[in-house]
């Protein structure tokens, strides 16, 4: 554990001195938190009346089933809009680790600092765990913090009780508390795999960004009315992501071997 802690602190002290990484870590969560709050603020009084006021032209008809009859049309519309932002919240644990991992691993390759590190008594598991935690932990913590700030903003903006109940309900909590960390793990391991093949942090970052494709898939599927993000869809997504994690952890561990790093990494 001591070695893992050393690696995590080393990664943070080095990576956080990179302005581009710091920018991603501060501004992206800030924008992703402000945007849904602003949207709630501007859509708050836009639609009065009961559910009958919501037309299928505004909201896919499949989504209407997610709104209870007691909800106002405005509440239902807000929940629909927020469901799109849920997916944007879920992008944070994917994008942040990619940025950190790309700079930490490709950066070490560029400065040839991996070999002296590998020559120490640290085990490859400790090194991999240290690097993964250094990239994954900030993403998870920033994701949770952003969500916390978002929750605090809801009553201040006068968002209705029904909408707040929906956002603090099982679908959102599963997405933020379970799917987020799972996606961060997948993202770290995929970034590790990509980083072993390229020599520029930005290239690694760009290629690793492919990890947001599953979330974009969910986003477009929901916009097109193919699926509705609810507990069942979220549980299915979590199941799929857990399987993907197992595969990517195996891939990451098989790539992160002393001999492969020194002789096969490009």
């Amino acid at each position: 554990m001591k070695h893992i802690k050393t690696i995590v602190l080393k990664e943070w002290s080095e990576v956080f001195k990179n302005r581009l990484v710091l920018f991603t870590l501060i501004f992206m969560p800030l924008i992703f938190t402000i945007m849904p709050l602003a949207m709630l603020y501007f859509t708050g009084d836009g639609m009065a009346g009961n559910m009958g006021a919501v037309q299928s032209a505004d909201v896919p008809v499949e989504f209407l089933s997610a709104c209870s009859p007691e909800m106002s049309a405005g509440d239902c519309m807000q929940i629909y809009v927020m469901n799109q932002f849920l997916l944007i919240f879920m992008m944070m644990p994917v994008i942040i680790p990619v940025t950190i991992a790309a700079y930490s691993i490709v950066g070490e390759k560029a400065t040839h600092s991996l070999e002296p590190l590998l020559a120490t008594p640290i085990s490859t598991t400790e090194l991999l765990a240290g690097k993964s935690l250094a990239a994954g932990l900030p993403a998870i913590l920033i994701g949770w913090t952003s969500f916390g700030i978002f929750l605090l903003g809801l009553p201040i903006l006068g968002v209705s009780r029904a909408v707040i109940d929906y956002i603090t309900g099982p679908t959102w909590l599963l997405a933020i508390l379970v799917a987020g960390p799972l996606m961060a793990i997948a993202s770290v391991n995929f970034a590790l795999f990509v980083s072993s093949r390229v020599n520029a942090p930005r290239v690694a970052e760009q290629i690793s960004s492919v990890m947001i494709v599953p979330i974009l898939g969910l986003l477009f599927a929901q916009l097109a009315g193919i699926i509705v993000i609810n507990v069942l869809t979220m549980l299915s997504f979590i199941g799929g992501m857990a399987l993907l994690d197992v595969g990517l952890i195996y891939l990451g561990a098989s790539i992160f071997q002393r001999e492969k790093i020194l002789t096969r990494w490009k």
């Binding site: 001591k2 070695h3 050393t6 080393k10 002290s13 080095e14 001195k17 990179n18 400065t111 040839h112 600092s113 991996l114 070999e115 002296p116 590190l117 590998l118 020559a119 120490t120 008594p121 640290i122 085990s123 002393r258 001999e259 020194l262 002789t263």
Partner: protein, 314 residues
């Protein structure tokens, strides 16, 4: 100490024939010896170091480093050795102090701050301890990398091209530090292209090109390749003196160069007085007598040429 037996590394290259980087390397380096490992670029020197530091696994053969078995006690090997890699590989954004403290923690050094301070002082970097390593000159970076390799006081040190790319002053500083380490009785495995450095620092030299071609002390290598030769500087040279000297038992050959007699022999200490007497009696004015020392570079180049000729013949 380091002991290898038939150590071999073959790289499996996709769509190309396999590359034998190290073939059947057998050597023994006793405790406290500075061993120079010489060879051209791509000879397999770094691969050998990587195997002996348990970074990559050998394809065949065995090795023991510091009493630990390669492939069995790999973590213990890494814990007990210090490695200076070909490139310093520092964390450029971090301070010199932080660069060292990270490694002290990874080597489980008990007094991290104490050891880091000790080596920063020893290598003259203490006043710049808080500056990022990226702002350091090449020589300072190399010194910092050497300090990193020594933090846990290893008995065995692997130094891969320690003075490569350094200016003469920085190279001299690094060399004198290696001499200090040698004085402390550490076993040093030194890879270098600098043959003068190897000649000066190493107890024994191994000339290597995928396989060990020669291994001996620099003096023995000189004797093996050129024998021992003594130069008699004369005020005037009579060619007849060369015939007289070559008649002395034990003299192998005599050459005349300008006003000098170059005499090849096995035991100069025994024969020199006899030759001097003969020359004086013959009327020669001897200005100076000295042993001709061939440089290690000449030996190295000759070894390489012979090796290439052998390979071509094979």
């Amino acid at each position: 100490m380091i002991e290898t037996n038939g150590l071999t590394k073959i790289f499996d290259v996709k769509k190309s024939p396999d590359i034998t980087a190290v073939q059947d390397l057998t050597l023994f380096i006793p405790e406290g010896e500075v061993f120079g490992f010489l060879g051209p670029n791509g000879a397999g020197k770094t691969t050998t170091i990587r195997m002996l530091t348990s970074l990559i696994a050998p394809t065949a053969g065995t090795a023991r480093v510091n009493g630990y078995q390669l492939g069995v006690d790999d973590t213990e090997i890494r814990r007990s050795i210090g490695v200076l890699t070909e490139s310093p590989g520092l964390y450029e954004r971090l301070s010199a102090f932080r660069n060292l403290s990270i490694f002290a923690e990874l080597y489980d050094v008990a007094d991290v701050d104490g050891q880091v301070s000790k080596y920063l002082h020893m290598l003259g970097l203490w006043s710049r301890r808080d500056e990022p390593a990226g702002s350091f000159s090449k020589g300072m970076r190399q010194k910092l990398a050497i300090a990193r390799a020594l933090l846990h006081e290893p008995k065995v040190l692997f130094l891969d091209e320690p003075t490569s790319g350094l200016d003469p002053e920085a190279a001299r500083l690094v060399r004198s530090f290696i001499e200090e380490l040698r004085g402390e009785g550490r076993t040093i495995f030194l890879c270098t292209h600098n043959l003068t450095e190897a000649d000066r620092l190493c107890d024994r030299i191994g000339i290597f090109k995928s396989r060990l071609i020669e291994i001996d002390t620099p003096e023995n290598l000189r004797e093996k390749f050129y024998g021992r030769r003594v130069v008699f500087h004369l005020r005037q040279l009579d060619p007849a003196w060369a015939d007289q000297v070559s008649g002395i038992a034990g003299v192998k050959d005599v050459q005349t160069v300008d006003q000098k007699l170059v005499v090849g022999m096995e035991d100069p200490e025994a024969l020199n007085p006899q030759i001097v007497r003969l020359l004086v009696q013959a009327g020669a004015d001897i200005e100076f007598v000295g042993e001709l020392r061939h440089s290690l570079e000449e030996i190295y180049i000759q070894t390489m040429q012979e090796s290439e000729e052998e390979e071509a013949a094979a």
